[in-house]
Symmetry: C2
Subunit: 245 residues, 2 copies
């Protein structure tokens, strides 16, 4: 059975209170001191009938690179949503973000946070060539992964075709585009924003399948905006337009 691991007191505590992830077991290092948070973890685990075990320091050795503070939870992996199920729901001026090969966990975590804050309805990632939503991403996202459906698809091109058939508009970002992202009217349509890989950008087949291709204008000859920051500029422009309509 595939399992994810949640590290650290805060994250374990959040998983216990959020109740949207199945917790299989909590491991607590015998060597750590009891404090308010640890007591709360034990109390909630007892209430919910979740097993917690006190284990030797050596059990934490495989997780040494993470800031686990002597507490980890073994949880069921993130549940992905099916694109078809998502498209079947009613949507009205909704936004979706499609990630075409984002490889950095910090970027993915930051993107998920940004999407939740900006009211994005779902994030679509490819099942290959993209960092997956693992427990490290979950931690970096400050738990945001539990507040937005993640859709994993085998082919982004097929996904985009399906969305277009359901009357979604597809907007890809590309540094060499003619139009600026703020020249698109994002109101009155359901739309998907495609963000490309950190180095390669959005793949050609996706650019071709898109309804719009837009860029972020650079005010200095230094075309190296981090992908999560680029997304933030664009997605909050769509929010601004919602407020102004």
């Amino acid at each position: 059975m595939s399992e994810d691991i949640i590290y650290g007191k805060n994250s374990v505590l959040e998983a216990l209170t959020a109740e949207n992830r199945e917790i299989n077991k909590i491991l607590i290092s015998k060597t750590i001191h009891t404090d308010v948070k640890l007591n709360k973890i034990k109390e909630l685990a007892r209430e919910k009938g979740i097993v917690f075990q006190f284990v030797g320091k050596d059990k934490f050795q495989p997780y040494a690179e993470f800031n686990h503070q002597g507490v980890i939870a073994l949880v069921a992996p993130i549940e992905y949503m099916e694109l078809e199920d998502f498209l079947e729901k009613p949507h009205n001026n909704c936004s979706v973000v499609i990630l075409d090969g984002v490889e950095d966990v910090h970027n993915l975590g930051a993107i998920i946070r940004t999407c939740v804050c900006a009211g994005v309805e779902a994030i679509i990632i490819p099942s290959r060539r993209n960092v997956q939503v693992n427990s490290v991403v979950e931690k970096i996202s400050a738990g945001a992964v539990n507040h937005i459906p993640i859709i994993k698809v085998n082919s982004l091109v097929n996904a985009v075709q399906k969305m277009k058939e359901s009357d979604w508009w597809i907007i890809a970002t590309d540094a060499s585009a003619k139009d600026n992202y703020f020249d698109v009217d994002y109101n009155n349509m359901n739309f998907a924003i495609i963000m490309g890989a950190e180095h390669a950008g959005v793949s050609k087949s996706l650019l071709k399948a898109s309804d719009y291709v837009v860029k972020i204008p650079m005010l200095k000859d230094f075309n190296s905006l981090n992908v999560s920051n680029a997304l933030s500029a664009i997605i909050f422009e769509t929010v601004r337009q919602k407020f102004k309509k």
Copy 2:
């Protein structure tokens, strides 16, 4: 003498070509294989009369946590600019970003990249309570630190006062502000945007000293936007307004 370290072939190569950082010495591990990049590094170093040494693997032990690829450069630290020198220059509808206690290297690196791309004229950080611009930040910033002046001040409140005396407008961000960031007219003034610490936000004394306090409206009850993404939303709104005026 204080020294910074630049890690990895790409970063060392960039430092050699950018020519804006004094390189004291380049260390190359005896055990790495020669490739195009390494040859280029040696060639440029010879041209510029920069010493490079082949050293044993053990010399890289202290840097094991960094992706050094067997090549590091010892460089002079980033040179900070004085606020007074910056303010003396002529400014016309310029922007500055003030960081009030940003503690995460990834955030600082991403913020510096965003600022360079958006044409921000300078970044002001406090000499304490903020992560400093070290070589890790430099790497994360993709070298952007070499394209924007960084100003380090003892007191942000004093810095803000000096800027106000020089007719700069001060805009602080705060989650509980009434006004949205996109309701400010950023044209026709020089302005500074203050971004707060990841958890505490902008300090009260700075909020009080500001001309405007603005928020980013959240479309979901999840008020946890990463500081670099928050800045990106705001700073690119100022860019949009420049294009639209």
